[in-house]
């Protein structure tokens, strides 16, 4: 059993709680920093993993994004606080893009090695576990081959379950345009997966 992700969105009242954490952080409470970090660590790294080529790059990008987001938070006036997550994810996206440009590399297909993708390993029999692993590798490989914008929207909205309004801020689009981007992205991913699904009887 894996514990629920500490960063799960709690729904209503969440943003008010987050604003209080940011205020507490600004007034010198180091626990507020740790709480904010815990809420976002998995998802920030998750987005970075999907937008960079190696786990090492992803960790550097995620770490730098946290440093910058907290610097922003320190300088923000109380009434201008928007979502901390939206800042963080936007920074991840821009850092990942910079890194790609520096390396002058096209999007590489990163091989989703099992040890790099810590996955909820519930008690499952071995066959099921192996099938799941293969399925995961297929999915991640297909995802990593998509254009950046598609990877970003699928990671935010589907993998990380970030609310559409917040994903829209990160992507610099309206919520409606974000949804339509999401639908196009899912279709593109489906097209990549469809080859493998052909002939599978349950479908």
């Amino acid at each position: 059993m894996t514990p629920p992700r500490s960063g799960a969105y709690g729904g209503g009242g969440d943003s008010a709680y987050e604003s209080r954490l940011i205020e507490r952080f600004k007034s010198g409470d180091s626990r507020a920093l740790e709480t904010l970090f815990d809420r976002y660590a998995d998802r920030t790294l998750g987005l970075a993993v999907r937008l960079t080529d190696t786990r090492e790059d992803a960790e550097e990008v995620a770490q730098e994004a946290f440093l910058r987001a907290f610097r922003f938070a320190r300088e923000m006036r109380g009434d201008t606080v928007t979502s901390f997550g939206a800042w963080l994810f936007s920074i991840v996206r821009s850092l990942a893009a910079d890194r790609r440009r520096q390396l002058k590399l096209p999007a590489l297909i990163s091989l989703a090695a099992p040890e790099l993708e810590a996955v909820a390993a519930d008690a499952m029999d071995v066959g099921e576990e192996a099938a799941r692993r293969a399925e995961r590798a297929d999915l991640l490989q297909a995802l990593d081959a998509l254009p950046e914008e598609y990877r970003a929207v699928l990671t935010l909205c589907d993998l990380e379950d970030v609310p559409h309004a917040e994903a829209a801020q990160v992507l610099g689009r309206s919520p409606a345009a974000t949804k339509s981007l999401l639908y196009r992205a899912r279709r593109a991913l489906r097209d990549r997966l469809a080859e493998r699904w052909k002939g599978v009887s349950e479908i």
Binding site: S30, R31, Q63, R186, R190
Partner: protein, 98 residues
């Protein structure tokens, strides 16, 4: 409903984001059109796979520790964490002389 109209609505349909009336019309179309039904089913499956936690990344303890250490160093205004209190010397004193 035409296939083109149904395809336009499949995105929100799969997300359960359609008003009841439109959802019913899409469903009626899907019952009669194999191609659109396949489209809906594979989109739904794609969404489910993604949401299944299948691509979930978990930050390692090493990454957490490293990043938190840098964050603390970068935020000098923070007061030290009270998470690990100084051990109270009295607590370990034996109640009798050895």
């Amino acid at each position: 409903m035409t296939c083109a109209a149904a395809l336009d609505l499949l995105g929100p349909y799969v997300d359960d984001d359609l008003p009841t009336e439109s959802r019913r019309r899409v469903e009626a179309h899907l019952l009669t059109c194999r191609d659109c039904a396949w489209e809906a089913q594979t989109l739904r499956l794609t969404r489910e796979r993604l949401r299944d936690g299948i691509g979930e990344v978990v930050a390692s303890d090493a990454f957490r520790a490293r990043t938190l250490a840098r964050l603390h160093a970068d935020n000098a205004h923070l007061s030290p964490t009270a998470d690990v209190p100084e051990p109270d010397p009295l607590q370990f004193r034996l109640p009798f002389k050895v």
